[in-house]
Each structure stands twice: as C-alpha cells, then as structure tokens.
Symmetry: none
Subunit: 244 residues, 2 copies
C-alpha cells in the first residue's frame, strides 16, 4: 500500500513546447504541494535550460521529472485520469469543473487510487487520441470570448483546487471586538464637548439631530477600545490641548 | 447608477517590475472577463514593450490600463478594497481566502460598490503602507514551504474565483454604501494635515506607524460619503477654523 504522499496527483504535460512554461508549471506545483511531474514527448527534449529560471526555486520538481514517450508510461501508476480540455463536442466522458475534479481526486486518493492529470500542448491542446483513455474531462469555466488559458495557469488552477479541497475548513476569522458601550459613550461625550466649545453646534441647522447623526456615525464605525484611545488623542491634539 | 460591467473589480498592480508579468496579468484578466487594469508606479514606466507578447491577444486591456502615481488615484472609483498578501503579522484587518473575497466582491457589486484588488511587486509584495487603507487582506492557501506565488498566478486565482462566484447568485444586503476610496483618501489627508499642524506627530513614538494605524482605523469604519462630509466639518471646527 502506497502512502498518502505518493498518491498525490501526477501532473502530465503532453508534448509541452516551451521550457519556460515547464518551469512555471513546476513552480505552481510546488506552491500547492505537488511534486510528481511527467513530461510526455516535450518538443525541445529534456532537460531544457529554459525551465530553470521560471521554476523560481522548484528545482527538485524539475530534477525529479519523469520523461516518457508513450502515454502509458507517462501515466504509470495512475489509476484514475483527468484530461484538461475545452468541452469536447463528441465525447460521452463526464465533464467536470476543476473544483469537482479536485473533489473526485481527493476521494480517489482516500481509496488508494493515484490520479493523473493531463495538460495539452500550448498551441493546440489535447487531441481526441490523448483523451481516449482518460476517465474524466476537466473544463475550466472561462470567458467564452477569451478562452485560451496559458498552460502554467491551467496547472495553477487545477493544483490550487486540489490543495484547497484537502484543507480542513478554516476557522472563521474573528475581527477585533468593538469597544464596550461605556467607552463609546465617554468618547462621544468628549467629542460632543469639544465640538460644543469650538462652536460647531452654533451653526444654524446644527442641532440635536446633528448630535444624533454623529452618535450614529460613531456607533456604525464599531471602533475598538484601541481605536477610541487613539481618537481621544486625536481630538485633544486638534483642539490644541497638550498632547498626552 | 453604473452598470454591472463598470462595477467589475479593478485589478491594481502596485509597483509591478516586469512588463512580461503585466502582459500575463492582462491575459488572465481576459480569461475571466475582467478588463479594468490599473498600474501604480510601474518600475519600467508605461507603456512597456515587454507586456504585449505575453498578453496573447488581451491588447485591449493593456491599451486601456490606467497609469497612476498615487494609491488614491489607482483606486479611484473603488468602494471596497482587497489587498493580496501573505497573512500579515500585525494587522487586525479581516483575512479572507480568494474564494471568500470573491463572494464579498459579488455581494459588493450587487450593492453597487466597485471592488479594487491590490497586487504587490514581484519581489517584495505589498508594504504595510500599501495595506493601511484597504478593507480586507486576501491570503491564498499555499504550501507553507513554497509560498511565493508568481504575480500573474495570484491574479489568475483571484480572477478565477471572481468568475466562478458569478455563476452562483449573490446575496444582496447592507443599506449605506461606504464612500469611494478617493473620498476616504482625501479625508485622511485632511485629518493627517490637521494633526501634523497640531503637533500630534511630534510626540515621541508617534511615527509613520501611527499614521498607518489611523488609516486602518478609518478604513475599518467604512464611513459613507455623508459621514465623511460631516467629519470634515468636525475637524474644521475642532481646529478652530470658521465652521462652514
């Protein structure tokens, strides 16, 4: 029985053209904790010196990349396969979004099945022959008027969804609590008194309702205790009292 | 009332370094039906001949890119702002995943609020000053051992989540929209200037970080345009200028 790590999806680049893109794919895989890269018949051979710079430190993935010249070898060890492609016209294979595919992959891994994900060449994508033996098509939702995804970016999206699907739900982020009412109230009193002294309420039309608006504005802001301490200092400074 | 299209999020690249990456960002935006690109102080000026090739046809986005030299201009018209960043150590801003941020953006747009999303420079990311006035931090779940995302790939993930979130209906609510960023910005400038004159920042220990705290406090309050008008009057009155 293989361990969980070696069951993580293999990323299979089918006839990739640019070394630069292979490097970017390696970087994207490292970002999302994948490391099993396979290259099926890369156009410019392998290794490719253009891959290193864009890998931005993901050299272990490039160094460990498996070179293959047949699909069967490229997918060695994979027991469930996904092919990223625009929705094919004549295919009865199930079509999934990257998110749905990521969930399927997590289920598969939980059952001991290693997934493999095929990505086609930059210019043309996967052929019908490439798709023939795969289990699922993965089609990314994109702008129909500008649907051509860069190879590395397709890998980013699929790897990201894989990674997110494996995360425990995040604990909700608790924002800082607003100050207790008495602190709000004494701040308002400070503000009102200062405005009173500065003649703010002497202006025609500025009345009790103006005071209410200010109170409402301050309440709405949900200032914390630290905020209020700072704002007390701001008022003291603005009215020209010795800052504390 | 603006139409839905012009409310789609603005992508703001803060001090981007490589033209190549700006092109890739444009392509990613086009893939996910975004087109409002803003460039804040790009290192190599603008236009940049390196951007065209990697845009892969998204030339309309490059041609329409808005060049800015101040954050306030870069975020003009945006009423809710997101900053992509690793989880900051000292910040009380809410931290969202790209998926949560996308939902927030959809809700905001449904309320007529245009979102702006900040992406930092390739090498260093956004500074504490860049983050000061934004409403939310967006942190992408990534492999902690290899966490540096390529700029264009960060844009891909955020744009993808925005696009996918649009396929589900968004929940409307919240009555008073917060003021647009430029109004917030000019209020902050008024406050900072008044505090400067009153000697607020002369106190030992009150420095640039105090200024950032104030900006953060104001951003957090999500004041409306009416609120800000009132607060301008409050400052004028407190500093003893003739109330208007």
């Amino acid at each position: 029985m293989q361990n969980q790590e070696s069951l993580a999806p293999a990323v299979v680049l089918v006839r990739p053209q640019l070394g630069m893109n292979i490097g970017m794919v390696a970087r994207a895989m490292a970002n999302f904790a994948l490391d099993d890269l396979r290259l099926l018949a890369p156009r410019d051979g392998w290794p490719n010196p253009d891959a290193g710079p864009t890998a931005a430190g993901a050299d272990h993935i490039l160094a460990g990349a498996r070179l293959a010249d047949r699909m069967g070898d490229a997918l060695a060890g994979c027991r469930i396969t996904f092919a990223t492609s625009a929705r094919p016209r004549h295919s009865r294979k199930p079509v999934l979004t990257p998110r749905e595919a990521a969930e399927k992959m997590r289920e598969a891994v939980a059952q001991g099945l290693k997934p493999g994900i095929l990505f086609g060449p930059e210019r043309s994508g996967l052929t019908a022959d490439d798709l023939a033996a795969t289990d699922f098509i993965v089609t990314c939702p994109v702008n129909p008027d500008f649907s051509s995804l860069n190879l590395a970016q397709a890998v980013v999206l699929m790897s990201y969804e894989w990674y997110v699907a494996g995360e425990a739900p995040a604990a909700p982020h608790e924002a800082d609590p607003p100050a207790p009412f008495n602190e709000m109230d004494s701040f308002l009193t400070h503000l009102d008194d200062s405005l009173e002294k500065s003649g703010y309420f002497d202006v025609p039309g500025r009345t009790a309702s103006t005071k209410r608006s200010l109170a409402g504005l301050i309440a709405h802001a949900r200032f914390t205790s630290d905020d209020l301490r700072m704002l007390h200092g701001v008022i003291r400074s603005l009215v020209g009292r010795q800052p504390d």
